[in-house]
């Protein structure tokens, strides 16, 4: 039986892989960055991204290290239904497809999700939205950086601080060089690697596992994992879904992609990306269930994925997991850096602080903000702040923004005050539910409260919104 605490790769090999892929991403960032001749090119890849790259970037951005490393934990804790519950996070991508069409129709020259909130609802809703978005974005960014450092340490014995620094440095550099072109281009390669890696490891585990024997053993020793009505799995099903809706509908990572793609491509790309994403948590997660039958003693569930991969594929499996995890981290961090800096630049910088929008200076500010955001992330990661907890707490915050966005896009009688109240009450009651009832209720309650406020407000709204006001 193997010990779950050992590292899988020699640190030198880990560093070699980090440097190899890091240099590749940086080179590609520089190479593709030469295409960017205008601010729109740098921030939104010229607004002409096609279906292949559009689909890949949406899928890869949504595949985080959590998808690959946490899915096995979900399988171990919540069983088969738990993996399906995780997969429902893809529904956010499916449903963003029609939203992206509407966004492109209403705001063909739009830049950020903040633009929409400001023009649709006015400054108070916009300010509140920005606070929610920044809390979530920074928490996501830092949790990715922290996860990267911990994973590099677990997988290859690379000291945490060094791993964090290396990953963030690589992502900041190639995002700086190439902007959205670099982000989207590298996302395509990273998505192919992630899919190939998950397929290879999963297939080999299936070949080497007697599924019938596995099932029979689970029926005796871990029956809850094959219980179709396992309570925590059922509860997390809808909660995860609403957390996912909130994350995708509100965040500038997805709005910037909607603006970067060709208008007719965006809906299909998001829908396809949802389809591509859906099976990944199951394919990556089920291997945890095979651990014992493959002779792997699970001690720390967070390492079960790499351990099983190492068991079936030896050193190749360990290399594959390392590379897949690095790709899933990079594909999310680069998108977050680009989109969050874009939001800060456009909304805070340009609209609130009134910085110059002269193209060459604007692009300089954009790069400065990417560096600043990268540095802030690095500092928070270095402090080893447990922002994963903050990320989960942001669930009710982002879920409260779901209905203001849906109503704002489709209903011309959604009032700004309703949007503000929906976000405030949804967030407050969602956070209350998180601490008083349980984490598995927070996003659900937030979304439902927000929905109730919006629905109740519509009959009282006398004004109808002129959609042309969104064309700035």
């Amino acid at each position: 039986m193997s010990d779950g605490a050992i590292t899988l790769l020699d640190p030198r090999l880990g560093w070699a892989l980090l440097c190899l892929f890091g240099l590749l991403w940086v080179f590609l960032g520089w190479y593709w960055g030469r295409r960017a001749s205008s601010v729109d090119d740098f921030l939104l890849a010229g607004r002409k991204v096609g279906l292949a790259l559009g689909t890949a970037t949406a899928m890869a951005t949504w595949v985080t290290s959590n998808t690959v490393m946490l899915a096995p934990v979900f399988a171990l804790e919540k069983g088969l239904w738990g993996m399906v519950a995780y997969s429902t996070a893809s529904f956010g991508l499916f449903l963003f497809a029609p939203l992206s069409r509407r966004i492109r129709t209403l705001m063909p020259e739009g830049h950020t999700s903040g633009d929409f909130m400001r023009l649709r609802y006015g400054k108070w809703a916009w300010y509140l939205f920005l606070v929610i978005s920044m809390v979530y974005s920074v928490a996501w960014l830092v949790s990715m950086g922290t996860a990267g450092g911990k994973l590099m340490e677990t997988l290859a014995g690379i000291p945490y601080f060094h791993g964090v620094t290396a990953i963030l440095l690589v992502c900041v550099i190639y995002t700086l060089f190439g902007g959205m072109y670099a982000v989207i281009g590298t996302d395509f390669i990273q998505s192919a690697i992630i899919l190939a890696g998950v397929l290879l490891v999963g297939s080999l585990v299936v070949i080497r596992t007697d599924l019938r024997a596995l099932y029979d053993t689970m029926a005796v020793e871990q029956p809850s994992l094959i219980n179709a009505l396992m309570p925590v799995a059922l509860l997390s099903l809808f909660n995860n879904m609403f957390f996912g809706f909130g994350e995708v509908f509100h965040n500038n990572v997805w709005w910037s992609r909607a603006h970067a793609m060709r208008a007719e491509v965006a809906p299909r790309a998001f829908f396809l990306s949802g389809l591509l994403w859906f099976p990944i948590p199951i394919a990556a997660g089920f291997i945890a269930l095979s651990a014992t039958s493959l002779g792997v003693n699970v001690i720390d569930p967070n390492t079960v994925g790499p351990l099983v991969a190492g068991q079936v594929l030896g050193k190749l499996g360990a290399v594959l997991v390392f590379v897949v995890v690095f790709c899933s981290l990079a594909s999310s961090i680069d998108s977050l850096l680009a989109a969050t800096s874009d939001l800060l630049l456009q909304d805070l910088g340009k609209k609130i602080l009134g910085i110059s929008s002269e193209p060459s200076r604007f692009r300089l500010y954009s790069k400065f903000i990417i560096i600043l955001l990268g540095f802030l992330t690095w500092v928070l990661c270095a402090l080893e702040m447990d922002l994963l907890q903050i990320l989960f707490l942001s669930g009710p915050l982002v879920a409260s923004a779901i209905w203001p966005i849906i109503a704002g896009l489709y209903w011309n009688r959604a009032h700004w005050l309703a949007a503000v109240l929906a976000m405030l009450l949804g967030s407050a009651l969602g956070l209350w539910a998180y601490f008083q009832i349980g984490w598995y209720t927070a996003s659900l309650i937030s979304a439902v409260v927000s929905m109730a406020v919006i629905f109740v407000s519509v009959p009282f709204c006398r004004q109808t919104f002129d959609w042309k006001k969104l064309h700035e």
């Binding site: 039986m1 010990d3 779950g4 171990l76 804790e77 069983g79 449903l95 029609p98 939203l99 069409r101 509407r102 129709t105 209403l106 063909p108 689970m218 005796v220 020793e221 871990q222 029956p223 809850s224 994992l225 219980n227 309570p231 925590v232 059922l234 509860l235 099903l237 809808f238 909660n239 879904m241 609403f242 809706f245 003693n297 699970v298 001690i299 720390d300 569930p301 079960v304 779901i402 849906i406 896009l409 489709y410 209903w411 349980g438 598995y440 209720t441 659900l444 979304a447 439902v448 929905m451 959609w467 042309k468 064309h471």
Partner: protein, 117 residues
């Protein structure tokens, strides 16, 4: 679940056996783990009471210790009412959301061009 040796014996040559039973007498039990590690992750237990005990064996399966004191574990799930209520709320919220987006999408496609030049 973790276990430690009470003596200063070197644990590296030992095999630990972890037994699980639903009664304190261990009349019917299963072996949950057998190997050199001093911990194992347990999950997926159905609701109920469980008892665990561990023993150490030396080389050639020579028993080195007697069984440890049983450790009692109670597995309790979230209440049925809460699960059903929250699931129904979730299903309703999800349905309303999907229908709203689909209807909004359909109606918006029938709108005249919003931004005519």
């Amino acid at each position: 679940m973790e276990w430690d040796l009470t003596s200063n014996h070197d644990p590296s040559n030992l095999t630990f056996i972890l037994q699980q039973s639903s009664d304190a007498s261990f009349d019917s039990s299963i072996v949950r783990y057998e190997g050199p590690d001093q911990a194992t992750y347990l999950s997926g237990l159905a609701a109920g009471n469980y008892f665990f005990r561990v023993m150490a064996e030396g080389p050639q399966s020579a028993a080195l210790s007697s069984w440890s004191q049983p450790f009692e574990l109670q597995v309790v799930f979230v209440g049925t009412h809460q699960v059903i209520l929250l699931s129904l709320i979730g299903l309703a919220g999800f349905t309303i959301l999907v229908v709203s987006i689909m209807v909004g999408h359909r109606l918006s496609q029938r709108e005249p061009k919003v931004l005519s030049s």
